[in-house]
């Protein structure tokens, strides 16, 4: 038993109030007990703590420790540049933290958008007198008056009504105004017609009602609560980056400690070993990874914006690439939302013919709320299409509308009473089953005959055949009455009608959708259609666009509500699924279960009620024409409302994952070249080959722009022919490690060491001779190592641009950002090597041109070695394909 099922007296009794409302004193007490009628923000972590948490995660703590040791080292051994190093590390921590914090802060906006939708003033009865108070001060038990244009302040049980109609769009997404009654209703509260919900708008009429729920406990508050509390979860990329940093850091710290111990055992001093340990850790920890990934995602989101997909959360860019299921609306997303009358059908050949002075088009034209404003038709797309077709056929008709019984989702029809040429008619239109149910006669040729069973069967066949063509079908009926005053209720009006015929409207599919769906099939992405239309219409459209090929599972809204989670789970594991006659609010349940099954879900939506599902999904996709709340809750906004744009975005997302993989290999390759000279420094007692500041200059300076260049590589041809990345398959696997650390890394290291020893040898150094750390020759040698790594990375960046395709096929100079990046890399290196400031900060010294020239062949060696590997990989792929096809034959 709920408030909607009670009579008016029981409502007063239950809420301990009366027709005179509450006393001021009681209202005050209830306000103290139930609180203000407002959307409260769920208690969240204060912003400052959120920012602090960005400074205290695993990688940040590791960097803090490194910075602390650097400051300590500066304190004990001043003048060795450790202060600069410490400050540089702190700078890296803060840059990373600020990036992450800004992203989190944007999420907070969703709730603020909801707050704006609540009203300010409301008329209530206090001590029997009507008084206007702030909407935030109403309490359960208050008797409120609602007038046209009011926003409903709280959830209200209607007790008196004067033809009130409310627009529930902010709550349900249904734009059609619906009437409210005072009669008890035994169904669910949310479906009840005797409730006016908070946040909705009174379109016409007036009513009086008792407030039973305020603030966060209203239906509107419930959505706000869910929007505010649903934790979006960590994106796959965030998880993967966390994993990578932990794995790599564990390797780095272990290596650092191992070599620290070895150094101690072979008699190196503590500070030498310490410096070495810090160096080896910093050389291996991918400090540049987080900022590079963030910047790359930001650039990815810019590219998507050009393709009409606006990305709000940066990490969503990559998450898109791992999507395995898309739950999509039909109207406007798969179709164009351009309704057009395609077929008119009745029980006789000419369904548009007049019978006794009236035709089906009269109903279509007059039982219609479309308005002509400055020559344009304004209204709901279906009504506009009907109006246009009818007006084109019969022109404008002089008439007067006397009454309207608006459409509601339970009756599934609307009716109006109009007077035309001294005759009064009731005209009705609605869902075929609803109109047939109230019809007792029908048009047959030029006659009106009783509607018998065989005619009814024929009518059902007729509208089914229209629906099977993908048409949205509406039925029309009418009757003559003596006067509108005789009709007290819609039941009276809509009794014993004369069935006129059907109109089938077409909402053509978007031309690019079929190709996009085919792309999804090849890419192993399932598409689930969730629509408010009938199952036949949905299935016909789905067939037309290639969404269903085999026998699809079709679940209707009523059936969906009866299903347990286990049953729904079974249904959702089917290959082809359509949910029909659904409302936006059901999406959250579908998304939850899909996520529980381990799927990565993208879901589309545009209403306020879509917001929780949009937020819960891995990727919430809002339409550009959707409500603000939906846009705020979504991760991506489609500027053109087009399904194909989602698929384009997925393609971009996949490309970005591959690109991140490419620059991880690129980063790993230099880590070997940075670490090996250090190991030789400790084991072979060679002069210091690279300073920690030089490592940071490479990791966070010279190679940042070329790495970003890898981030903007366009998708490779085969990217949408592979299934979605399986859960658990990360950025790093054995292949990546081998290619980065061993294959490219070792080839590069040979070149780097060659330059290092070349400079030492030229400077007169002999093996076993120990040089002081500030010896000019040591500066020159470490500069040669630094330059060696920079040059090897130039070869590497070209090598990493593709996975298996030859670089010559995609065009060696095709990526301008990489070219600009290389130029910037060379200029920055020249500054570090030849400018006194660069020399001072990074402990470098000028080196002759011969070292540059010496390194060029090694740079090409890296590039061509990778080209040979790619050729062998392609050759292997061809052989495997031939073998497979032979096996099939």
């Amino acid at each position: 038993m709920k408030i909607n099922s009670l009579s008016t007296d029981e409502v007063f009794q239950s809420l301990v109030t009366s027709a005179d409302g509450l006393s001021e004193e009681e209202a005050k007490r209830r306000l103290a007990e139930f609180g203000y009628n407002e959307i409260e923000e769920i208690k969240k972590k204060p912003l400052i703590f959120k920012f602090l948490s960005q400074l205290t995660h695993f990688l940040a703590i590791l960097l803090w420790v490194a910075a602390l040791f650097s400051f300590l080292s500066e304190y004990i051994h001043p003048g060795e540049g450790m202060l600069t190093l410490g400050l540089a590390i702190v700078g890296v921590i803060f840059i990373n933290a600020i990036f992450a914090f800004i992203q989190e802060y944007r999420v907070e906006k969703a709730l603020a958008a909801m707050k704006k939708l609540l009203p300010f003033y409301v008329r209530v009865l206090r001590n029997g007198k009507e008084t206007e108070i702030f909407a935030r001060e109403v309490v359960p038990g208050d008797v409120a008056t609602l007038m046209e244009g009011d926003k409903v302040p709280a959830d209200i049980r209607i007790i008196e009504t004067n033809e009130i109609k409310v627009n529930n769009a902010p709550l349900t997404g249904e734009s059609e105004p619906v009437g409210r009654t005072k009669e008890p209703f035994s169904g669910e509260l949310i479906n009840s017609q005797n409730i006016a919900f908070a946040g909705t708008m009174v379109v016409s009429g007036s009513a009086k009602g008792v407030i039973f729920s305020t603030g966060m406990r209203t239906e509107f508050g419930r959505i706000a609560h869910l929007t505010g509390t649903v934790t979006p979860g960590i994106s796959p990329l965030q998880k993967e980056i966390t994993r990578i940093t932990r794995v790599v850091t564990a390797i780095a710290v272990t290596t650092g400690l191992l070599f620290f111990s070895i150094g101690y055992l072979i008699g190196r001093t503590f500070w030498e070993n310490f410096l070495f340990a810090i160096g080896i850790i910093l050389a291996n920890v991918p400090e540049g990874l987080l900022p590079t990934v963030t910047l790359s995602l930001a650039m990815g989101s810019q590219r998507m914006a050009k393709r009409k997909a606006l990305i709000k959360n940066l990490t969503s860019v990559e998450t898109l690439g791992s999507v395995s299921v898309i739950c999509t609306d039909k109207t406007g997303t798969l179709t164009q939302n351009k309704m057009e009358v395609k077929k008119v059908a009745g029980l006789c050949d000419n369904a548009t013919e007049k019978v006794q002075g009236i035709s089906l088009f009269h109903s279509a034209l007059l039982c219609n709320n479309t308005k002509e404003v400055e020559g344009n038709l304004k209204g709901e797309p279906t009504e506009v299409a009907l109006y246009k077709a009818a007006a084109d056929s019969i022109g404008h008709i002089e008439n007067k509308r006397l009454k309207e019984f608006p459409f509601d989702s339970d009756r599934k029809r609307m009716s109006t009473i109009n007077s035309m040429r001294d005759t009064t008619y009731v005209l009705a239109k609605g869902a075929p089953e609803s109109i047939l149910q109230i019809s007792r006669h029908c048009f047959r040729g030029k006659d009106i005959v009783p509607f018998n069973t065989s005619m009814e069967e024929k009518s059902v066949e007729l509208y089914h055949s229209l629906m099977d063509q993908g048409l949205r079908v509406l039925a029309f009926a009418y009757k003559e009455v003596k006067s509108d005053e005789m009709i007290a209720s819609k039941e009276d009006a809509e009794r014993d009608m004369i069935f006129m015929g059907f109109i089938g409207l077409e909402d053509p599919p978007r031309p690019e959708v079929a190709e996009a769906i085919q792309k999804c099939r090849e890419a192993g992405i399932r598409i689930i259609m969730i629509t408010g239309d009938s199952s036949r219409t949905a299935a016909a459209i789905a067939k037309e666009i290639g969404l269903i090929k085999e026998k699809a599972t079709i679940v209707e809204g009523a059936e969906f509500l009866k299903m347990s989670d286990a049953e729904l789970r079974d249904v959702l594991s089917d290959k082809e699924i359509i949910f029909s006659r659904m409302t936006p609010k059901h999406k959250l349940r579908v998304v939850n279960i899909l996520k529980e099954q381990g799927e990565r879900v993208a879901v589309t939506g545009d209403g306020v009620n879509d917001a929780p599902a949009l937020k819960r999904a891995d990727i919430g996709v809002s339409m550009g024409t959707g409500t603000d709340v939906a846009k705020e809750a979504a991760d991506m906004i489609l500027l053109d409302d087009n399904f194909a744009t989602i698929v384009n975005a997925i393609e971009e997302g996949r490309a970005i994952f591959e690109n991140i993989k490419k620059f991880i290999i690129y980063i790993f390759a230099h880590l070997t070249a940075e670490a090996v000279p250090y190991i030789l420094f400790i084991l072979a007692r060679i002069p210091l080959p690279l300073t920690v500041m030089q490592i940071l200059a490479i990791d966070l300076g010279t190679e940042t722009i070329p790495a970003l260049g890898l981030g903007v590589e366009p998708p490779e041809a085969a990217i949408m022919k592979q299934p979605p990345r399986p859960k658990g398959k990360g950025l790093i696997d054995r292949k990546v490690l081998f290619k980065g650390y061993i294959f490219l890394g070792l080839i590069g290291t040979i070149g780097v060491l060659f330059a290092y020893f070349f400079v030492l040898n030229k400077g007169g150094w002999r093996w076993g001779v120990e040089l002081p750390i500030n010896d000019p020759l040591v500066y020159q040698a470490s500069t040669a190592t630094f330059l060696g790594i920079v040059m090897m990375q130039i070869g590497n960046v070209f090598a990493c641009r593709t996975q298996t395709e030859s670089i010559f096929k995609i065009g060696i100079f095709g990526n301008r950002l990489i070219l600009w990046g290389i130029l910037a890399e060379i200029l920055l290196s020249a500054f570090i090597i030849y400018h006194p400031w660069g020399n001072k900060i990074f402990s470098t010294a000028s080196i002759p041109l011969s070292v540059w020239l010496l390194l060029i062949p090694f740079m090409f060696m890296v590039f061509f070695a990778e080209e040979v590997r790619k050729f062998l990989a392609r050759y292997r792929e061809v052989i495997l394909t031939i073998d497979n096809s032979q096996l099939k034959e």
Binding site: V16, E33, P140, G141, L189, H225, L226, T229, R246, Q597
Partner: protein, 280 residues
């Protein structure tokens, strides 16, 4: 188990709603209902009148339901007086409404509700009333911990409430997500979670089966308090029944307290049960 039920009534509307829950439980359990109003010293006459009116209304409703009912009016310290009545009448369970101010202070930092649950020798059901539209709960959410104390009484109470309103029960166990150092949060399917269901929850379900109460269960990873409120809001539950917190004030401050979170954020009425009947 419950033969005598006492419900504390005062001038506030929420105490009357709490009394309605007690009244329905009394009907389902065939118990005698005691309505008790303890007026603090120096209270205004108007407050006294309002409480009397509330008692009258409940009295009439209870009589309609053929419940054996008795009204008691006293003056003095509510906790002390109710405690005396409980001992004298051998009351099995006391219903009391929590106040908004209880929630705004820290719930477990010396409120009347807290004092009642600590001082009384019988079980205590603290009712937080937030939604006046759901008069008879049809969907009851019962969050459970892995280890359940007073399992027999808890299951009896939940079953009796479900019986009283003809409701279905949904059991929810929110558990810590499984994580590994390198992989972060590990995702498990519902079937895999099922295997991790504790024995106590299975026993609880056996008890519900014994009372022929229709129930479903759900195990989800996440923070208990937040998961309960999300579940209650998302699936439009009418009532949440959960056990009282056993965390100390210090532990609540540092580790958080799910009961406090649900008290603050519950989208529907909430009953916090402090059971005293030992398992047999």
């Amino acid at each position: 188990m419950y033969r005598k039920i006492l419900t504390a009534v005062n001038e506030h509307l929420n105490s009357e709603i709490a009394a309605r829950y007690a009244m329905n439980l009394a009907r389902a359990a065939g118990a005698k209902l005691y309505l008790c109003f303890v007026a603090g010293k120096g209270r205004q006459v108007a407050i006294f009148d309002r409480a009397e009116e509330a008692i009258k209304r409940i009295f009439i409703d209870a009589k309609k339901m053929a419940i054996d009912i008795e009204a008691i009016t006293e003056t003095g310290d509510p906790v002390k007086k109710i405690s005396e009545i409980v001992r004298h009448e051998e009351i099995d369970i006391v219903f009391a409404a929590t106040r908004r101010e209880d929630v705004e202070k820290r719930f477990y930092a010396g409120t009347v509700a807290r004092d009642l649950s600590l001082a009384l020798p019988c079980s205590v059901a603290l009712v937080r009333v937030v939604h006046m539209g759901r008069i008879h709960p049809k969907k009851i959410l019962v969050p459970l911990k892995a280890r359940i104390d007073h399992l027999t009484e808890r299951s009896y109470f939940s079953a009796a409430m479900a019986n009283a309103f003809g409701s279905n029960i949904y059991l929810l166990h929110a558990t810590k997500p499984i994580t590994s150092f390198f992989h972060g949060e590990v995702h498990l399917t519902p079937v895999e979670w099922e295997k991790k269901m504790s024995k106590d929850i299975s026993y609880f379900m056996e008890h519900l089966n014994k009372y022929k109460i229709i129930h479903e269960k759900r195990l989800i990873p996440g923070k208990a308090g937040r998961s309960i409120t999300i579940e209650a809001a998302a699936k439009r539950f009418d009532l949440v029944i959960m056990g009282a917190s056993e965390r100390s004030l210090l532990s609540s401050i540092f580790k958080g307290n799910p009961v406090e979170v649900v008290l603050r954020e519950t989208p529907c009425d909430l009953i916090i049960l402090k059971p005293r009947h030992e398992d047999k």
